[in-house]
Amino acid sequence: MPVQSLQNTDVILPQHTPHPLLPFLQSQSQNTLTRLYQRPSSCLSIFRLLGPIERQLIMNLLWLESAIPAATMSAWVMPEGKQAYDEALAVMAGLHIAPNSTVKLALNLTFKSSLRQAITGGGNTGSFGTPADKDYKRQSANIENLDAYALERWETILHYMVSSGQGQNPAKPSQGVLYLLQRSGLMNTAHGAILQITSSGFQFLLHSPHDQLWNLLLQYLHMAEERQMDLVEVLSFLFMLSTMDLGREYSTEPLSETQKAMLEDLRDYGLVWQRKVGSHSILLRWVPSINVLYYLQASSKRFSPTRLATTLTSSSPPLPSSHSTGGSRAADATGTVALSSGAAQQGFIVLETNYRIYAYTDNPLQTAVLNLFITMKYRFPNLVVGMLTRESVRKALSNGISADQIISYLTTHAHPQMRKNNPLLPVTVQDQIRLWELERNRLKSAEGYLYKDFASQADYEYVLAYAKQLDVVLWESAIKRCFFGTLEGHSNVRGFIERRTGAA
């Protein structure tokens, strides 16, 4: 009666790319990190950003009272997983979660107690956000409004980048955002005061919203140190946002000064929503560090996180696509995206073997991004038709976009109907895009010096051997008795020759 059990032996470990925030955290001092770990919400968020092995190891050690010998833990490791296990331990040590030691293995005490508090609830840090009292006078924002607000803010930024400020969309992002874009190298002032998009800006546009958001936030964190904002406050506020409930209002009372100042920036990025208070209410603020008294517009005492904020540490789609047909949202008050929404609406591009592209979208931002590498042919209310031509792809390549980025953008946003094809995109089109890229690299050049007319073969070989030692030879020919060396190596070679001829 008992049947042979299914052998599940060929489960491949999925590729885990480390989160971009982790290197930044690892560069911080242990002191900073320990202060950060005092808040349970920060521990929980960082826990979610880690890879699966690190998470399992942390969970294994979390409820132990004392340290265990490192040998005990490594006895559980299978031989083929040894390398992954060591890498996981290294990551944890870099974040000061578990000090790397060959004798004992234990969690950082602050991290351990905070994570325990996060799981069981408790403590008095208020790190998950103090909910605001119900305001019966005014309407609080519901989830659709929050999504629309976040989408509008985010697309304004991206649209500004794509059209370099000249598009038909007159809305400009705020000064803070423009400054951030410039500092992060996504745009720069090439001619005068007008901001132009750079090649890294183009690459940025083709990333997923999640990667784009974290890219900007990392830049913000780098700038925070210069603006003398306490990094721990900034980070813990971001982590607190990621654990908040979508559609609920939270009070700004318990926030620190730094965090209240952050609210304005986060409003511009579309991460939080705040009701605007009338402009006649102004506060005077004295900032001791720069000896300036300035006016601060009083803002509302409450704020709501948008979906961009609550999905910071998860892989759910942070933005509903603007052409979504509503999707079926389960009555889930925790705000998690229902199973049937999300990815189906992200895919909207159909690519044919005759290089024609049909994009089922009416979103001007997506159209603008497609315009970067496609020649548009027709536009309909719900459809954009274009072709991948040599000119359009070369224009994109000259702007700094690579062929791989174009192909991965098309793959990520492929219409569900395209999933029937194997491979997803027609091979001819993929190869041709790469060939167009290679066309630009037909001629390679290198500056340097050509050494010829040697007196004898021995002379030539002697100098050549010396140059090879310095690794500056780009081309050589024994028949012609000459070689080509780099610009940097010239002074050394010349010195060598002069010494030789001087001595001879």
Binding site: E439, L443, K444, S445, A446, Y449, L450, F484, H490, R494
Partner: protein, 66 residues
Amino acid sequence: MRAIKGVLLTCDSAVKQILLTMNEKDPFVIEDLDDYHLVIKADEEYRVRRELEAELEKNTYSLEAN
């Protein structure tokens, strides 16, 4: 012996022949090394690239219809 300043160009043989033809009109080549390499004058590189691209464009045809 001599050391001549220049730019080493690496390319395929077809492109090299095109460059040699261009060279007859407007000399820029210092030395012809082998089937895949040329040494040209350093300040001519930009002009050479532009002219090469223009020459190669003459060989590409695209369907502008439909």
